[in-house]
Symmetry: C2
Subunit: 415 residues, 2 copies
Amino acid sequence: MTDLELMGKKAAEAKYRVQELSAREKDHALLAAAEALTANTDKILQANALDIAAGEAAGMREGLLDRLRLTPERIRAMAEGLEQITALPDPVGEVMERFTRPNGLEIEKRRVPIGVIGIIYESRPNVTADAFGLCFKAGNAVILKGGSDALRSNTAVAEVLRKALGAEGIPEDALQLITDTQRSVTAAFMKLDRYVDLLIPRGGAGLIRSVLENSTIPVIETGTGNCHIYVDRAADLTMAVNITINAKTQRIGVCNACESLVVHESVRERFLPVLAEALRARKVEMRGDERVREILADAKAAEEEDYGKEYLDYIISMKTVDSVEEAIAHINRYNTGHSEAIITEDPKAAEKFLNGVDAACVYVNASTRFTDGFEFGFGAEIGISTQKLHARGPMGLKELTSYKYAVRGNGQIRS
Amino acid sequence: MTDLELMGKKAAEAKYRVQELSAREKDHALLAAAEALTANTDKILQANALDIAAGEAAGMREGLLDRLRLTPERIRAMAEGLEQITALPDPVGEVMERFTRPNGLEIEKRRVPIGVIGIIYESRPNVTADAFGLCFKAGNAVILKGGSDALRSNTAVAEVLRKALGAEGIPEDALQLITDTQRSVTAAFMKLDRYVDLLIPRGGAGLIRSVLENSTIPVIETGTGNCHIYVDRAADLTMAVNITINAKTQRIGVCNACESLVVHESVRERFLPVLAEALRARKVEMRGDERVREILADAKAAEEEDYGKEYLDYIISMKTVDSVEEAIAHINRYNTGHSEAIITEDPKAAEKFLNGVDAACVYVNASTRFTDGFEFGFGAEIGISTQKLHARGPMGLKELTSYKYAVRGNGQIRS
């Protein structure tokens, strides 16, 4: 048995204990874990300083260093994240449906934990605490594989959390961190379907693709967003400017940011100059089709590939269409199934867009930036699913559960 | 673009039309398809005769030939299957949840089709019609890949169904059949995640493993069942005999049949002789541990691997335990997450078993044979899921859908 298989086995054993815990026991453990994080701030910062020094020595860019860097405030925020999870209702045990069959069998559909959840993530060490907290509250054991840049920080955080669990009489193996940074170990992790029930990659498109291609564990794809705003012929154009600017520039590096504008021909001439002024003021580069460039002399020509790109930058692509149907077809061709918005005062166009666009979240007259577990009222999220199986859109605690059928009879046999 | 990619593209185009169809339109098309099957009985039988002849020439076993063989009655049953689907409620469009956020955003969680569903199956040609019917009623397009033994039969059935769709003004490409039997094509099908949203393998453990290992499309595992009956110390022993005999012998080749008996030490001496008599009468081979063999002289010694086996045959493994906890641990070690039963009059033991056993369907005092879409009242099923993501247990129409969030605002932006 390899080290990794042993981890899988331990997680699979720990899951039976975690799934039996009451909401009170889980919340108590989460509060103890939060306290332990704060109490061990120095230890975690020391570990983090080594990661930062190694990153600097390797010439890591400032943006990445910033994601990697911990401070007392950021550790406090991690602890608060765990505390906030205790306020969320425990999804485990909920009776989702109950029905009786003509033969007298009483069937109950019960919400149960998934079991063992694997998470592969990149730089940010706070994911170690966040992901553990959500999976644990939903009654699952976790195996985490963080980025090698953050190995020392993640190890320190995981050790603190494990000890806190142990002190509560909960198996420490409810949280395990893979510390072997060899690629072959990550590859083997993706094949650990004997022990791991769900694998969630959190990171860029490359990581997600690699997991999809190599995993034998069921995967939930998260977080790539090529989101569009479609400004319909019946749009309130002031609202359209406000929403586009918000969705594009309020925070550029996030998956629910707008990457592409689709504009109806009949409002092109009135809308684009006003929008462009606001975009220029925020130094957003514009890349448009010919009809856009007729109006906006400073827009670059959009290449075909621009329409499929998640820029995560101060760049926006722009496309002109002649109907809401064409807008829907364009969006369905290039989007990533994340979040799409129509700006319109026409209820028929709105309904057509809501029905026709194939995405987790489809908006009428609101910014795509609302696709978020907190904004949806889920209290927290483990990610935004862009696939259609199991969970779509923001994934909160419920999305980290499965169900089982509990069937009670009095001797029924099948004839 | 390869032929397969072209099929994917066509399916992805057809899905937009299928997802817009009303329940009435879908039901009308299903009835037309059912009628077309009956009307084309001769044509389908001719194609099937060629498959049968080829099978016989290749020395195919009678059991497999029987699965492959069509008769007017079996074609009529296929047609009736489609007719029955029209009686089921359309799941598409159901509002699953609706809530308003403090900022005024109105969020509606709507049930929507999954999109394009791929199904890979083995011998039986009736799956071509059944799988199409269920997926279509749930608003999906399908790409089917049947066994090469049944290629001519499947092609004939698919052609009839496609023409019936076309005559209803529905894109024929809502149903496509892969007719290229090269392994490389099947392998490429499993990687068609650009167009296919869900892949369901229907067949033996080898097929399922191959799909899990090679697919980049989300997969739902179905249909391997190593199901246990646990006879508790507080069991009604007459009921235990009836249920065990039913679950083991009522139909041996199905995934919800019992493969293994677990018996509490304290009832071993009273229960096993009575059960064994009934098993012997039905020519069931018994393979037990030492404590079983002390009682049953004719039981063979069970090897470790017996406990992990889905026999699908007149064989049963038998294991003695000293507690319900040991029974649960034994079952969780060897089961496939399908269906498990406890026979007991003790409510505490029952609840412990219901909570502790990790399986899609857990029974108290009833046969595992009830794990079935019809028996659960779902009207039909596409398979029994043994995984925890998306769907668990019998998968009916609802399990062939996803959801989206439709969000309505009046200009909300994120601050």
